[in-house]
């Protein structure tokens, strides 16, 4: 299992994937840096009760759609390594189970997005310090806004990796990812059971942990369904 994961890490070298993993958080933060520098007086006045909270709100506002589109692109690139060289057959001819192959790809996606989320958290701290928001950094809140959406978006990571692996034509996976991104921007108005709403962490109970719980549960379910399908599917 670890061997396969290690080989997957090798395969993504020089594929621009790491570049995108860094670019996501850097892009979000530099946009917010521009936003806050240009309107420093206005925004610091608007959020004067809770400067860090204001910054974190603005960061998540951009981060959620970025995570949605980012995970679609990253999973597609991960799966496309095999599609492009027609090497699914070779990979599956190795003495390893289909379970491990699928799980390794899924885990790779999870790890990459985890790295991206962590970078976003670290970057937010740096940005806040540069903007002179004081040294009373709300670490706990920061951890929540960084990792809660990451867990709540799990169903989509599972879905996209399955789509990207199953359909050779990456337009399918990427289009569904794009639709998801646009839908996620208006997701707050949806009823609570819609998965697109979970990464926004809004629900009628006012408890973000419920969104996280739903996300993890449904994510696991979709992963298992994708796995079953991958195991039974004929590889051309």
């Amino acid at each position: 299992m670890f061997g396969i994961l290690a080989s997957d890490f090798l395969k993504i070298r020089r594929k621009m994937i790491w570049f995108l993993i860094f670019l996501g958080p850097i892009g979000v933060l530099s946009l917010q840096a521009v936003n806050f520098t240009l309107r420093y007086e206005y925004l610091t006045d608007l959020y004067k009760a809770d400067l860090w909270g204001g910054l974190m709100n603005n960061v998540t506002m951009l981060a959620v759609p970025t995570i949605f589109i980012g995970l679609a692109i990253i999973t597609s690139m991960i799966a496309n390594i095999e599609h492009q060289t027609n090497s699914w057959k070779q990979v599956l001819a190795l003495p390893i189970s289909k379970f491990s192959v699928f799980t390794a790809k899924f885990t790779l996606g999870l790890i990459l997005l985890f790295v991206s989320s962590t970078l976003l958290g670290l970057g937010t701290i740096i940005l806040g310090l540069v903007l002179k928001f004081g040294s009373s950094i709300p670490y706990l809140e920061l951890l929540k806004i960084i990792y809660y959406p990451y867990f709540a978006v799990m169903p989509f990571i599972a879905l996209q990796i399955w789509l990207a692996i199953t359909y050779k034509n990456q337009a399918t996976a990427l289009t569904i990812g794009i639709i998801g991104t646009v839908v996620s921007m208006y997701a707050v108005i949806f009823p609570d059971w819609v998965p697109y709403k979970w990464p926004t962490l809004e629900n009628q109970w006012g408890e973000p942990l419920y969104s996280v719980g739903f996300g993890l549960l449904v994510g696991l379910l979709i992963y298992l369904m994708g796995l079953l399908d991958f195991i039974r599917r004929d590889v051309k």
Partner: protein, 243 residues
Amino acid sequence: MIKVFQSEFLKLKKSSIWLLIFVSPLLSTLVGIGEAFVGDSNEEEWLITLSIMSYIHALLFLPLLTGVFSAFVCRYEHVGGGWKQLLALPVSRGNIYSVKFLLVIMLLALTQLLFTVGVLSVGFIKGYNEAIPVGEILKSVMGGWIACMPLAALQMFVSVAWSSFAAPLAINVIFTLPNILVVNSAKYGPYSPWAQPFLAMMPRFDESFGALNVPPETLFIVIFGSFALFFLSGFTYFQRKEI
């Protein structure tokens, strides 16, 4: 040129990509129907609907779809080593590039047409009393279409250059996502080619926000300037590219 177009059209018909032209108009129509705006709803009800739907359609969907279309018309050549076979035919590279670009533009035009149908049907379903502001709707739809051309040109360039499907799309996303912030800025919004579809499609009200207050002349300079730059660089690149 017409023959090349026909053959490209045939390839397109066999793929399911044209289904994508329905996605965004359909979603924005649903939102248009679902949205119940309050206040003095008798005034400018068409324009309010148009702006709600444009918000969904043009802020992210349209620029991103432009990228998908461009990547797709190059995909079937990248996948089966089709570039070589295509260029071995007695057709010029310039023709092939222009035809592929035209195809993307055509798909976008169909999308815009469906969007118009969407706007009109929302109006009829809700039974608006006001006369249909034909001029405003046409201006919005045509403007959005023209504003997509620079993006289509750039995406053709990167799609031809890279065989991966996701890479050109990543470029597109990198420039399109900032739209969420950029369109609010009166200073920078007008100069971002990726914000143009949105700026062109939003109907103007008396009190508009951000970059919407910019005179159309500025926008046209940005659109045509970036189009010329992107199209010519892509065109020259394809002429010299080693296949």
